[in-house]
Amino acid sequence: MNRLRLEPWLGALLLTLLLIPTVRHGMEASMWRHMLVQAPAWMWVGALLAAALPSRACAMVARWNAYGIAGLIGAAAVLAVLMVPRVLDLALLRADVESVKLLALLGAGAALRLSWRPAGLVLQFFFLGNMLAMMVVVGQLYIDSPLRLCNAYLLDDQARLGRWLIGVAALLGTAWLAWAFWQLVRREAALALQQAAS
């Protein structure tokens, strides 16, 4: 309970930090930081702020978000659109695109938080199976491309981002599999205990 009350404040603090122009420009100065530091940071803020939702609002959201499907689809859509290389260039040139991008990341983070548990292991697997595969494909594309896909960033920066995208995807995939395995083991143990008791 205590943790839940603390989270929105942490989110607000982090948001203030991320809004400082120097921090924002620093994160956008290189392609890999733009995609792999800024994007997760804003999603994390979204997830933290979602903890501030009162339980009545949560219940209402849940009615429109059965099994977390709408939330996962929304988050997947945001991440897929943000993988278009043109977004990175446009975000640097146009304030409106930058604002929409950051708000979408906040929303995606909040949606993931509100949808992850209701989704269950099967839907989570489906979501990650799509997202992580997309990250790997885009990453490989960035590594292999002899052309710069963003005018504002250097070619070796792009290749580094590609390698990191694949690395992060592998890491997230492994972490989720370990977590899912642990969940299943715990569930089985609880089941066995129940049967032994009855």
Partner: protein
């Protein structure tokens, strides 16, 4: 469940609309692609910028581009460049050879000129540009070299024409090198990739012919 389906559909439609807007109906994925498409749809007039170089003692870029004698294929360079500009140099050498052959065959000057604009105004003074032109065997009647001495005008020009220059931290630059075709009224009408050299040449020739009889210089 119905409500979830409705929200999900709306979210997907929103993402589709956003992606479609970003990619001009899924035609381009990069900002460079979008820039080339936008230029083809809406020609871009360069902002006021005074340029100078060997044999160009100081003139408005637009005046240079609208001088009688034809359309212009331009590129952005810096003379210290060891990578993509070398390709650009040889691309322009081949264009020059083709234009000289055109002129020899027709007996009149070709209706297409070449212009290399430096974005490294500190290092590329007229003397450096002259040395560079000599290194490339540039024909002064056909191929000119200029820089924009004023920093603010240079930035405005690069921005308007969509040229992005990124210092690579080792004293060099990476930039979206391309062949820019300007029509007789000095507007950038097309941006071609370096690999599309023949296409750029043919397009410029076509433009030069289309604009009526050539004015001899």
């Amino acid at each position: 469940m119905l409500r979830t389906a409705i929200v999900s559909t709306l979210l997907l439609l929103g993402a589709y609309a956003a992606a479609s807007w970003l990619t001009y109906d899924f035609q381009v994925w990069t900002d460079e692609g979008a820039r080339r498409l936008e230029v083809a749809l809406r020609p871009v007039a360069p902002p006021p910028a005074r340029v100078e170089g060997p044999r160009v003692p100081g003139a408005e870029l637009t005046a240079l581009l609208t001088e009688p004698g034809g359309v212009t294929i331009a590129d952005f360079i810096y003379t210290d460049c060891q990578t993509v500009c070398l390709t650009l140099g040889s691309t322009f050498q081949q264009l020059q050879a083709a234009l000289q052959a055109d002129a020899a065959a027709a007996g009149t000057p070709a209706g297409v000129r070449l212009l290399s604009i430096s974005f490294d105004r500190q290092r590329d003074d007229p003397a450096a540009l002259r040395a560079y032109a000599q290194r490339l065997n540039a024909d002064p009647a056909l191929w000119r070299f200029v820089r924009v001495p004023d920093g603010a005008q240079e930035q405005a020009l690069l921005r308007r024409l969509g040229v992005v220059v990124v210092p690579d931290g080792r004293g060099d630059y990476e930039h979206n090198a391309a062949l820019l075709v300007f029509d007789r009224s000095g507007r950038m009408v097309r941006v071609f990739d370096l690999a599309e050299q023949q296409l750029a040449l043919d397009y410029a020739r076509h433009l030069a012919r289309q604009a009526g009889p050539r004015i001899g210089s």
